[in-house]
């Protein structure tokens, strides 16, 4: 059989619109360069996974997008980091407003020591929504979007700390959704969860990606493979600065990466 092998085009299911991006971005902790010359686009309504060995700057990179790194002294950013073509490191940027638009879910579920309802209502309240009926609406909608409503609807008044780890993490996602962000950053959101709770969060991410732009950092390569549309592979150079090796559709990165270093990492030949 001699046919012209035109494989199906490998396209990630994304709109193609760029939501956030970095341009020749370098980040320093004092004298130490943690990230070097990163240029990367984050597509709208897609899940972009950042993978790479420990210490390659994945979490630092993620925190760049809502300026969480600002909280660390001695941090300096060069180059541009954009949200809808606006440089978010510009001195006129309102960081509180930025973090409302770019929400974050952390490694360990961190519900506030208050009721399920108050956890989700906390953000909208802070942003000025006081009407009880309106808040109830937001809480229900957010919990539903986070696929946890059915499990907690009868215990909205109970302490969030009584929920299981997986439920707490979905509650934290609901808390982020309640302030209606556009981008959601997730820093190892499943590393403290069991496998079933992990798969449930991944399925939730998939449904959220229809309406939100998601960036996830994970040390679990299989998770990046399962859950993301685009994968960005980072590694360290000799001076320990993190660089972007390759970014592309996840199906391509995990079946036929372009760079040999990516292939070596995902096949377990180094890391």
């Amino acid at each position: 059989m001699n046919i012209n092998l035109e494989l199906t085009e490998r396209k990630a299911p994304v709109s193609g619109e760029i939501r956030m991006s970095t341009r020749d971005m370098s980040l320093y902790y004092g004298d130490f360069q943690a990230l070097r010359d990163i240029t990367l686009d984050i597509s709208e309504n897609a899940i972009t996974a950042v993978i790479g060995p420990s210490g390659c700057g994945k979490s630092t990179f993620l925190r760049l997008f809502n300026r969480m790194n600002d909280l660390i002294t001695g941090v300096r950013v060069e180059g541009r980091v954009e949200l809808d073509d606006v440089d978010i490191y510009d001195k006129d940027i309102d960081v509180v407003e930025l973090r409302k638009r770019v929400g974050m879910v952390f490694q360990k579920p961190n519900p506030f020591p208050m009721s399920v309802f108050e956890n989700v209502a906390f953000g909208p309240r802070r942003h000025g929504r006081k009407n009880r009926i309106e808040l109830e609406d937001v809480v229900e909608k957010s919990l539903q979007q986070a696929a946890i409503w059915d499990e907690v609807k009868d215990k909205l008044g109970q302490s969030a700390l009584a929920l299981s780890g997986g439920q707490q993490q979905r509650l934290c996602i609901a808390r982020v959704l309640a302030v209606e962000p556009e981008v959601i950053l997730m820093d190892e959101p499943c590393s403290a969860l069991d496998p079933i709770a992990t798969l449930r969060i991944e399925d939730l991410m998939r449904s959220l990606s229809e309406n939100y732009t998601i960036v996830i950092v994970t040390h679990n390569m299989q998770q990046a493979a399962r859950a993301s549309d685009m994968s960005a592979f980072f590694m360290m150079e000799e001076d320990r600065a993190g660089v972007l090796v390759e970014c592309g559709p996840t199906a391509e990165i995990f079946t036929n990466p372009k760079d040999k270093r990516t292939e070596d990492y995902i096949t377990g030949r180094f890391g």
Binding site: T8, D203, Q222, A225, R226, F254
Partner: protein
């Protein structure tokens, strides 16, 4: 509550695609024998050309399976399902090649006068297509019993092949001028016999998918 809904949706889509490929192959076999009956060279040429679409479809589905294996870590029944589909793809692609083979024989025969009315060859065709169709139903319905049953029906196709062979041998023995034409019809019958064997392979794969056990079901006499 189903947890991996996105993955299982993709798996079902692949299953739908293999059914679509199955009907392309069924059509190719059916039309190749129709072309033989009607000495329809246009149809024969089209079948040869369309075989490329079947091959392309095979690679498309295969690539999707590879992507699922690489990215989704399928386990247990899901893993067997994907492996089974990969094997079935090869079988379907080859059955498509048999249809193409028959179409090429039709072109070789050209406008030679018919040797005899075709009776058993259309029967072989009908039986083979029926088996193929039901084998893919068994795949979709996860039905190992049906798959085993269909595989045993290969004997009927083998018996028809015996009949065709004996009959054509008689023609050739009686009149050596018929040897070329009779041999070509034997080739057609042989292609159909092989296609039915491929269906039994599909059935074995369905049994593996459903039960997790590799079974060789009633080895064909050819």
């Amino acid at each position: 509550m189903e947890i991996r809904t996105a993955f299982h949706k993709k798996l079902r889509q692949i299953q739908d695609e293999i059914l679509a490929m199955g009907s392309m192959v069924e059509k190719a076999i059916e039309q190749s024998v129709e072309a033989l009956k009607n000495r329809d060279l246009d149809t024969a040429n089209r079948i040869i050309k369309d075989d490329r679409n079947i091959n392309r479809k095979r690679y498309e589905i295969e690539e999707k399976c590879i992507q699922l294996i690489a990215t989704q870590q399928p386990m247990a029944g899901d893993l067997r399902n994907i492996i089974c589909i990969l094997n079935i793809l090869t079988e379907l692609e080859r059955i498509g090649d048999y249809a193409e083979g028959i179409a090429k024989i039709v072109i070789m025969i050209g406008d030679e006068p018919p040797l005899k009315p075709l009776i058993d060859i259309p029967r072989m065709t009908e039986k083979t297509i029926d088996m193929l169709h039901r084998s893919l139903d068994a795949l979709v319905n996860h039905n190992a019993d049906a798959a085993r049953e269909i595989a045993t029906e290969d004997d009927e196709v083998d018996n028809l092949y015996d009949q065709v062979f004996r009959e054509l041998l008689t023609f050739m023995a009686e009149d050596p001028k018929t040897i070329t034409r009779a041999t070509r019809l034997i080739w057609v019958a042989h292609n159909l016999e092989r296609a039915a064997d491929r269906v039994t392979n599909i059935c074995e794969r369905v049994v593996f998918f459903v039960t997790g056990k590799m079974e060789e079901i009633g080895a064909s006499k050819y």
